[in-house]
Subunit: 334 residues, 2 copies
Amino acid sequence: MPPGSLGRILEIGRQLAAIQRTDRPVGKPALVAVFAADHGIARAGVSAYPAEVTGQMLANFAAGGAAINVLARTAGADLLVADFGVAHRPTALCESPSLRIQPIRDGTSSFHDRPAMSREEAYLAVERGLRLGEEFLEAGRYRVIALGEMGIGNSTTAAALIAALTGCSAEAVVGRGTGLDEAGLKRKLTVLRDALELHRVRATGVWDWLECVGGFEILGLAGLAIAAARGRALVVLDGLISTAAGLVATRLCPTCADYFLAAHMSPEPGHRVALEALKLRPLLDLGLRLGEGSGSAIALPMIAAAADILRDMATFDSAGVSEPPSCPPSELRP
Amino acid sequence: MPPGSLGRILEIGRQLAAIQRTDRPVGKPALVAVFAADHGIARAGVSAYPAEVTGQMLANFAAGGAAINVLARTAGADLLVADFGVAHRPTALCESPSLRIQPIRDGTSSFHDRPAMSREEAYLAVERGLRLGEEFLEAGRYRVIALGEMGIGNSTTAAALIAALTGCSAEAVVGRGTGLDEAGLKRKLTVLRDALELHRVRATGVWDWLECVGGFEILGLAGLAIAAARGRALVVLDGLISTAAGLVATRLCPTCADYFLAAHMSPEPGHRVALEALKLRPLLDLGLRLGEGSGSAIALPMIAAAADILRDMATFDSAGVSEPPSCPPSELRP
């Protein structure tokens, strides 16, 4: 085709080709992995919604009624929902191949005044994500893993992690999450600023910050991202929280960044900071701020199309289409 | 869901709901319609590719090897290819339900020094597009019609139409098309400027400009867009050329603009001018400049997802999810 004429679609095709080490890559099958957990920091009033919603949404995922159920189905992707530490777990939930109840603990401690978890819990959360990734990659032979999350308060946790790992300020990463009002936003900023100040006294390395801030689902997603990269799957990051998980993954294992694709740009300021740190340019800009993996699921058909184009399209040569009389000079420059 | 949390996806859902007059809209089935024709203006050296490529690509579409064949298939959409006036038509082409050979004439005259077509040919091109749209809408019950095109030289024709219909300058709409070099771009600008000056002497109304500039596939697509709007289908515009057709359609029938969705932002300057005139904000920005309907086909799964979300997703109420304690003040403002 004319050079560069499919823009970012071709870039995705090239990334898939490099990951799969073939010039005939595939963009399917895909798995959307939604990890859920609660955050002690939610008690500091940093979310527009009560903490009960995490468990209620877990039930909604299990019943197939959430946005991510619809979006995964529309994209032809499998869905894995994992409970990494939901506080108000609905009693009627049954474990199934697509729903895993494997809490580290029923929510983190509030990192406003103490560490979110122990060092052992941090190790365990990352390891469980990694093992779950390995298990699903082996069983489903997934070529694409789309990350998603649910956890009331987790935009505060993600913002704190991004600030800590990139060295930027609380102001640069704070946002409205799922619809915080002006007073709530001010409160969230104060909480973030206080917490970062508190933990900066002793936190130096990545694991210190994971222990101090959390959360369980973010660490689990970081483990999953590492497993996916090791299994040569493309890792699709969604918004603020899953991109924070991606950032954590690259601090634990720098080479996995090559396996990442940023699905979209969320309106959360911290998301932009994390994407810049990861040197990723988001594919879509749709004003999405739902989470759940909604953005990464919406990007899946474009990823499938990118692989299909490389694999199934005729070249000008094979189709007998004339090339330009001479290569335009601009194409000859390096 | 939290207000506005699915951003533009929900906007598309609302547009489909309004078009279909239901709160349970559908985003399928979809038809990708690629109209092809040749342009006399190509003889003025305004394209990087020879005019033979239009016919060669028509054969490639018929053989299923082009990007749009792959992208329509990946999106689960039907494909209609129509020849509205290809100059170098391959001899082996067989008419089929998905390939229509219905040329107005074998390419327009060069609007560099004369009108591209007669008034009767202009009427005929729009009418054939309209009738083809009616026929396919009736047979396929399409809810979404994605526009695409092929025609060496047609970015010059589209730019001229956009400049003429919006009253802006040749400089504001000229672009590299499919990979024109610096010298080619200068030539194209001179040709555009001369042609606009020549025809401005007598062209006053929309039909004057359609007759003076052309081209057959653009006028056909304008007719198709009008038929689609009348048939309550969403019309997905692709890049510069199909958006020029959309602009023509709204000048012939202003209400059809409500049925339009701009799939993406192409790097062609004239595309931005046409989108602004149509008050459309493109959904994607992927650096696509292939044409064929590639951008509109890539947008189809997102349109299907938007309908599925409105139709199949549980509400917070039905899923037993808690609402925020009180509606945030920002949501109460009009």
